[in-house]
C-alpha cells in the first residue's frame, strides 16, 4: 500500500487515537485496543464529557487568574516556601473562591462519576452487550476496556490542564519553575488522576449493580456528597461527644486528636486533600500533631520532594488501595453477572 493509498484508506471512527495501538504493524488491531479506541471516541464525543471538561477548564482558569493577582501579597519575607513561588499558583487564593487543588478535589469526582456511571448498564439497556459478548473476545475485555479508556481520557485531560496552567503561569509571572517544583506539579497531576480513577471505579461498580443509569448516577453522587459534605460533619459530631476535658493529660489529648484525624482519613477525599497539601506546600512536615519536643531545633526550611512523598505515602497507598478494591469489586460483579438480552 502506498502512502497515498493509506491516506485514502477509510477512517471509520473519527476522533480515535487510532494507529497508536495497531500491533505488529498490521492493519488489524488487537480487539482489546479496538474496544478502548471506541470507548475513548465515545467519551470524547459525548456532550457530558465536553461539559465537564469546559467546567473544569473554566474553574482552573479562574482560580489561577485570581492566584496570579494575589501572588505578591502571598509572599512574606522569611517565608520558608519563598523559593516555591510557582507552587503558590495552585494554592493561593484571595478568599473569594477556593484555590485550584480544592476545586479539583471537588470537581474531579464528578468527572469520574460522569465517565463511569452508565458504562455497563447503558450497554445492557441498549441491547448491545449481548451482541458484543457474542464476538470472539474475553468477557473481561469489556470492563477492562471501559476502565482503561476512561483512565486515558482523564489522564490526557489533567496532563494538558496542568501543563497549560504551568505554561500560563510562566508567561504571566516570568519565573521558571525549578525542577523540583515541576516534579511536584507532575506528582500532583498523577495524584489527581488516581483520585478521579477511584470515583470512576466506584461509578462503574454502581453501573454494574444497578440496571438504570439514573439509579447508578444517583448512588454515586450520594456517596460523593456523603464523603465530601456529611462525613466531615459526622466526624466532628463524634469528636465533640468524646472530647476530653481541657485539663486532661497531654497523652489523652494527643490520642484524641489522632483518633479524630484517623476517623477523617477513612474517606478518600480527606486522603486526597492531605496529599495535595503536602505536595504543594513543601513546608508541611507532618499531617498529624507534633509535640514541642519534635519541633524543637527544627530548621524552618521546606522539605525535599522525597521527604514530602514519605509524609504522604500512607495517603497515597490508601487511595491506590481504595481504587483497586473498587475495581476488583466491579470486575467480580461483572464476571458473575448473567447477561441476557434486554
Amino acid at each position: 500500500m502506498t502512502i497515498k493509498e493509506k491516506m485514502k484508506a477509510p477512517v471509520v471512527f473519527t476522533g480515535n487515537p487510532a494507529g497508536l495501538f495497531t500491533y505488529a504493524g498490521r492493519e488489524t488491531s488487537h480487539p482489546f485496543w479496538l474496544m478502548v479506541e471506541k470507548e475513548i471516541s465515545d467519551h470524547v464525543r459525548s456532550l457530558r464529557f465536553i461539559i465537564m471538561m469546559v467546567l473544569i477548564a473554566l474553574t482552573s482558569i479562574a482560580t489561577v487568574y485570581l492566584a496570579l493577582g494575589s501572588l505578591k501579597d502571598a509572599i512574606k519575607p522569611g517565608d520558608p516556601e519563598g523559593s516555591f513561588l510557582f507552587l503558590k499558583l495552585f494554592t493561593v487564593s484571595d478568599g473569594s473562591i477556593p484555590p485550584f487543588h480544592v476545586f479539583i478535589g471537588f470537581l474531579g469526582p464528578l468527572l469520574g462519576i460522569s465517565l463511569g456511571f452508565d458504562s455497563i448498564n447503558s450497554e445492557l439497556s441498549r441491547g448491545t452487550m449481548s451482541r458484543l459478548l457474542a464476538q470472539p473476545i474475553h468477557r473481561d475485555y469489556i470492563i477492562n476496556a471501559k476502565f482503561v479508556a476512561a483512565l486515558i481520557v482523564i489522564s490526557g485531560l489533567f496532563l494538558c490542564l496542568g501543563l497549560l496552567v504551568t505554561g500560563w503561569g510562566i508567561l504571566k509571572i516570568g519565573i521558571l519553575p525549578s525542577f523540583q517544583e515541576f516534579l511536584r506539579i507532575l506528582a500532583l497531576i498523577v495524584l489527581i488522576i488516581l483520585y478521579v480513577a477511584f470515583w470512576l471505579n466506584l461509578a462503574i461498580f454502581f453501573s454494574i449493580k444497578y440496571k438504570q443509569a439514573s439509579t447508578s448516577a444517583l448512588a454515586s453522587i450520594a456517596v460523593w456528597l456523603f464523603v465530601t459534605v456529611f462525613y466531615g460533619m459526622l466526624v466532628s459530631l463524634v469528636a465533640r461527644s468524646v472530647a476530653p476535658s481541657e485539663f486532661a493529660p497531654p497523652g489523652q489529648i494527643i490520642a484524641y486528636q489522632k483518633l479524630v484525624q484517623n476517623l477523617g482519613r477513612l474517606v478518600p477525599s480527606q486522603l486526597f486533600s492531605d496529599a495535595t497539601t503536602t505536595l504543594l506546600m513543601p513546608s508541611v512536615r507532618s499531617l498529624g500533631p507534633l509535640t514541642m519536643e519534635q519541633v524543637h531545633g527544627a530548621i524552618p526550611s521546606p522539605l525535599s520532594l522525597g521527604q514530602s512523598m514519605l509524609v504522604v505515602w500512607p495517603q497515597l497507598t490508601g487511595l491506590i488501595a481504595a481504587t483497586v478494591v473498587c475495581f476488583a469489586l466491579s470486575y467480580r460483579a461483572f464476571m458473575r453477572k448473567e447477561i441476557r438480552s434486554r
Partner: protein
C-alpha cells in the same frame, strides 16, 4: 447435509432449584434450518446462551462444530454468529460503523471489514441507510442490520433468537426469505427460536417443540403431527364438478359419487354439503377414492387433505396438557 454440527446431550440448566432446561438431547445437522419452537419461558433462550458459551450448563455436554463452548467460548464465538432477541446497536453511530466494528473485533482489517460490510448491507437491502445513524432505523431495518452484523464474521452457524418479533408482515416475509436464501447459498446452518408458529413452519427444515424446558417432539411438520397425535384421523374434502347440469341429472350422479366414497375402506364421518364431500379416514387413501369418484362419472374440481399446521399442533398440545 448429513454431518452433525451441534450436539447437545443431557443438557440441564438450573437456577437455584428451578430447572429451566431439563435433560435436553438435540442434534442439528450441517446446512439445515432448525426451529426451536415453544412458548415464552420454555428455555429456548437459555439453551441458545449455553450453545454460545454465555451461560454455563448445570450438567450435560455441548459440542458446537466440534468445540466445547464451556471450555473454549471464544473459539465457538468465532464460528457462530448470534443475533440476540431485540438486538441493539450504538445509536449514535451509523449502520456501517456498527458492523465494521463487529468485523474488526473478529480480526478483519479496516479495509476488509468495510468492503465486506458494504457488500452485506447491499444483500440485506440497507445500502441507502448505511450512512444513517442506527438510532433512526426502524425495527425491520435493525433486524436486517443485525443479520449483516452476524454474517460479517463469516460464521458456519447462525443462531437467531426470536428474530421475527415485532416485524410487520411484509418485513417478516422479506426477513425470512433472506434467511433461507443466505442459508442455501452459503451452506449455513441456521438455528432460530420463535413462538410464532406460522413463520417457523414456512422456513424450517425441522422443528423442535419445547415446553417447560423439555423437547417434547421433533421432526418436520408431518412427522411432528404424527408423533403428537398418533390416533388422529386424516380429514379430506372433495369438490365435485357439476357444470351446467340440472338438479334432476345431478342428484343421482352425486349420490353415486357419494357411495363411491362412503363404501371405501376406513372412511368415517362422511357427509355431503352441496357440491362438496367431507370425510375422515384413518389411512392415506385419497388417491384411491379419487379414482373411484371419477370412475362413477363425475369430475373432481379439487381434493384437499387437511394437514395440521403448527398452530393446530400447538393449540392441541396445550389443550390436551391442560385436560390431563
Amino acid at each position: 447435509m448429513g454431518a452433525e454440527i451441534i450436539r447437545l446431550s443431557g443438557l440441564t440448566k438450573e437456577y437455584g432449584h428451578q430447572a429451566v432446561v431439563r435433560n435436553l438431547d438435540l442434534t442439528i445437522e450441517k446446512g439445515e434450518i432448525y426451529g426451536l419452537l415453544g412458548p415464552n419461558g420454555a428455555g429456548k433462550s437459555t439453551t441458545i446462551l449455553m450453545i454460545m458459551g454465555l451461560t454455563e450448563p448445570s450438567s450435560g455436554s455441548i459440542r458446537v462444530a466440534g468445540v466445547d463452548p464451556v471450555r473454549y467460548p471464544v473459539e465457538v464465538k468465532r464460528k457462530v454468529g448470534y443475533l440476540p432477541e431485540d438486538v441493539g446497536f450504538y445509536d449514535d453511530r451509523t449502520g456501517l460503523e456498527n458492523i465494521v466494528y463487529t468485523g474488526r473485533l473478529n480480526g478483519l482489517s479496516v479495509s476488509a471489514a468495510k468492503s465486506r460490510a458494504l457488500e452485506l448491507l447491499e444483500r440485506v437491502d440497507l445500502t441507502e441507510a448505511a450512512h444513517k445513524r442506527t438510532g433512526t432505523y426502524s425495527r425491520g431495518m435493525r433486524q436486517r442490520l443485525g443479520l449483516a452484523d452476524v454474517l460479517i464474521k463469516q460464521p458456519e452457524i447462525i443462531i437467531l433468537d426470536e428474530p421475527t418479533l415485532g416485524l410487520d408482515p411484509e418485513g417478516l416475509r422479506r426477513f425470512l426469505s433472506l434467511i433461507v436464501t443466505l442459508s442455501r447459498q452459503e451452506g449455513l446452518t441456521v438455528l432460530l427460536s420463535s413462538h410464532h408458529l406460522q413463520q417457523v413452519q414456512q422456513v424450517c427444515d425441522r422443528v423442535g417443540l419445547f415446553v417447560a424446558g423439555r423437547l417434547i417432539a421433533e421432526g418436520d411438520i408431518p412427522a411432528l403431527s404424527k408423533k403428537l397425535f398418533p390416533n388422529e384421523l386424516i380429514a379430506y374434502e372433495a369438490g365435485l364438478h357439476r357444470g351446467a347440469r340440472a338438479d334432476a341429472d345431478w342428484i343421482p350422479m352425486r349420490s353415486r359419487a357419494a357411495d363411491a366414497v362412503r363404501h371405501a375402506e376406513g372412511v368415517r364421518n362422511f357427509h355431503v354439503e352441496g357440491d362438496r364431500l367431507f370425510w375422515e379416514s384413518d389411512t392415506e387413501s385419497g388417491h384411491e377414492i379419487a379414482r373411484n369418484v371419477i370412475a362413477s362419472g363425475i369430475d373432481l374440481t379439487y381434493l384437499n387433505r387437511k394437514e395440521y399446521g403448527l398452530d393446530e399442533i400447538y393449540h392441541r398440545y396445550f389443550s390436551t396438557v391442560a385436560k390431563s
